[in-house]
């Protein structure tokens, strides 16, 4: 084709590598495909992302330990939400089973790093760079095992089957007391240790909360960048094609089974890593945590944040996580809401209603989630003072 259309050769010069010069004052003019295909393709994006990252690290010294703990948890949940977004948002395979894969990661990590002669199953591998990938891989393996079902089932059949997975998992985890300690008892969570330094204790790097906060932030950045890379690669495109129209995808050369298996595998890897990390903060895992409610929370994060965007999943996770301390402080603000679970209305009920309502309201009014709201606001300011 290139020979026949010489004009094409001019419009598309030799593939330049690396950054090329930028024409000043025309932020949307690209001078190379490399630049056009970069993750942060405009200066505005580069600057704002840079500022955000620096700010996030600065928070480690600016915030109180209590807030750092909440944020560290939010970052871990964000990793899980990105994972769910990969299979459900990008690849369109509705999974209500995310909690199951999170659980697998949590217990793999806990068992690997647990003391060898302790009360529960333990192998004494406390180094995080060993147990974290292992947690991800074991969960990914479970995902790959489930995936063949996904290739046979469509739409809501798959949703119900993955829901069944959560119930099956809940049962197994409650019964397998040697591993999990059983309901109401639980077990100690994974121990994060890096080259002999315990990251979940006050130490040379700062307080326990500061250290964990920085750890989770770094990991979130790694996982988020990887997910963005995946999304813009041949694999991310294949996922989206299967989501939008699977028959057409197959006919143009996208293998359906392989890509669905891949989507479940990668998504479960994220879930497993999130599971391994999540409980290092409290130091304790309870088998009752991995219920349908957890899956719904992850779905809420994805839907509220914005389907099929990585930044949306992060925003959604932050939003849902920050909702909790907010509702917990309600009793002091609103007299009729009680902090006691035996009273009605209590904060837990308010919280649950909020999840439900937020999902419903976002889906009805802003299906693109927080991401969509952000786009609207941005477009408004771009055209300011003309609001049309």
């Amino acid at each position: 084709m290139t020979e026949t259309r010489s004009a094409a050769a001019q419009a598309a010069p030799d593939i330049p590598t690396g950054r090329s010069r930028k024409v000043r004052g025309r932020p949307l003019l690209y001078t190379s495909y490399a630049q056009d295909m970069a993750l942060l393709d405009t200066r505005a994006k580069r600057v704002s992302t840079g500022v955000l990252v620096v700010l996030a690290f600065a928070l480690a010294v600016l915030l109180q330990d209590r807030s750092l703990e909440v944020l560290a948890g939010a970052y871990v949940l964000a990793i899980g939400a990105i994972g769910l977004n990969i299979v459900t948002g990008y690849a369109g395979q509705v999974s209500l089973g995310h909690a199951f894969f999170v659980a697998i990661g949590a217990y793999t990590a806990a068992a690997l790093s647990g003391p060898v002669d302790g009360e529960r199953l333990g192998y004494g591998v406390a180094e995080i760079w060993l147990w974290l990938p292992a947690a991800g891989l074991v969960a990914a393996a479970a995902g790959v095992l489930v995936a063949p079902l996904a290739t046979r089932l469509r739409g809501l059949y798959l949703a119900v089957v993955t829901l069944g997975l959560v119930f099956l998992g809940e049962h197994v985890f409650k019964e397998w007391q040697e591993l999990t300690g059983g309901p109401g008892v639980g077990r100690e969570a994974a121990i994060p240790q890096l080259f002999g330094v315990r990251l979940d204790q006050d130490g040379p790097l700062g307080t326990k909360e500061q250290t964990l906060y920085v750890l989770m932030l770094v990991l979130l950045i790694v996982f988020a960048v990887a997910a963005r890379n995946l999304a813009r690669s041949r694999i991310g495109r294949a996922f989206a094609a299967i989501r939008d129209r699977d028959i057409a995808a197959a006919v143009i050369g996208v293998p359906l089974t392989r890509n669905k298996v891949l989507a479940f595998g990668i998504s479960s890897f994220y879930a497993g890593c999130a599971g391994g990390l999540l409980y290092t903060i409290s130091g304790y895992v309870e088998p009752g945590s991995f219920s349908l409610l957890m899956s719904v929370q992850f779905i809420a994060m994805v839907l509220i944040g914005g389907v099929a965007t990585v930044s949306g999943a992060i925003a959604g996770a932050l939003f849902i996580s920050l909702l909790q301390p907010l509702t917990r402080s309600l009793p002091s603000l609103v007299p009729f809401v009680s902090g006691d679970t035996t009273q009605t209305p209590n904060v837990f009920q308010v919280e649950t209603v909020l999840y439900g309502l937020l999902i419903v309201l976002f889906l009805i009014f802003e299906p693109r989630g927080l991401f969509g709201l952000w786009i609207r606001i941005r477009n408004y300011w771009k055209s300011w003072p003309f609001s049309y």
């Binding site: 509705v94 079902l149 119900v160 829901l163 119930f167 009920q349 439900g356 309502l357 419903v360 889906l363």
Partner: protein
């Protein structure tokens, strides 16, 4: 043998309750192509309504009133949250129903409180003898009432104008539209019927042991039932419900004896095990129609 038969009857009794719930799921699915995850909340609401009304009007009137009340609630939900979503992806609507379920259940829980609420039903745990067998009378009540309701339902779909309209719409929405069937009416009817059935099911779930906040999970057993039967088959819903009930009952009676290594309480998850096995063999359940897409 006696034990096996008694276990079977218990399974069929509970299974017919699952069948009522499953019918609600399938009716909504056929009309709107969405699985309504709000069924558990409606079921619980129905049971709670009976427990309050029975003190005032007596049990039987309370059951009828509650079923109508919950049908009304379902209609309202459909009108407010589902109808505006016509044309949106089914996944989105399904998740909305999940959100609705969560919200409605919190409200209903406020009416339940911490205690167990009794239905005021005439059966309780009383037993009757069927020849050599001794079974609980409520299981028989469940079976009989469900049989009657299923009969009425099938007659409704076969002989009444509205029932036929719903079948037409389920078969091909566009053609039905062209023939003057109102899709809004079909949506509303499906939710109303599902609410009605869910309330009756909730009442039965509450007989004997009563209901508490956690009782809603019983409704989730209807999910494996509809998958086993096939999402879009009314007959499949009934068969699926009964299969799930019987399997669960058999696990309760015999798993401890024959397969103790599976752990305790496997009966709780046995419906899902059946579901997975059926799906491996038949991806569209026993009676569901295969979706063919054309390009």
């Amino acid at each position: 043998m006696k034990g096996l038969l008694e276990s079977l009857i218990r399974g069929l009794g509970n299974g017919s309750v699952y069948a009522l719930l499953a019918l609600g799921f399938v009716i909504i699915y056929k009309a709107t192509r969405v699985i309504s995850f709000a069924q558990p909340a409606l079921m619980l609401a129905g049971a709670v309504a009976v427990s309050y009304l029975a003190e005032v009007t007596g049990f039987y009137a309370a059951v009828l009133l509650s079923a109508l009340l919950i049908a009304g609630v379902a209609l309202a939900i459909e009108r407010i949250a589902i109808r505006p979503m016509v044309g949106r992806p089914v996944f989105v609507v399904a998740i909305i129903t999940l959100g609705i379920d969560v919200v409605v259940r919190v409200v209903v829980n406020a009416f339940i409180g911490r205690d167990v609420r009794q239905m005021g039903d005439p059966w309780g745990f009383t037993q009757v003898s069927l020849g050599p067998l001794v079974v609980q009378s409520r299981w028989l009540a469940m079976l009989v009432v469900t049989a009657v309701l299923v009969g009425l339902l099938f007659a409704f779909f076969r002989f009444t104008k509205y029932g036929l309209a719903m079948r037409a719409a389920a078969f091909d929405q566009e053609i039905a539209l062209a023939q003057g069937v109102s899709v809004g009416m079909v949506f509303a009817l499906s939710w109303g019927l599902a609410g009605f059935l869910a309330a009756i099911a909730g009442m039965f779930v509450g007989t004997g042991q009563g209901i508490e906040q956690l009782t809603w999970v019983v409704a989730l057993k209807a999910l494996p039932a509809i998958i086993v039967g096939g999402l879009d088959s009314l007959g499949g819903a009934v068969v699926g419900g009964l299969v799930v009930g019987v399997v669960e009952s058999l696990f309760q009676s015999y798993q401890g004896e024959f397969a103790p290594w599976l752990g305790q309480n496997v009966a709780v998850v046995s419906p899902y095990i059946v579901m997975l096995i059926v799906l491996l063999v038949r991806p569209y359940g026993l009676f569901g129609t295969r979706e063919v897409e054309r390009v």
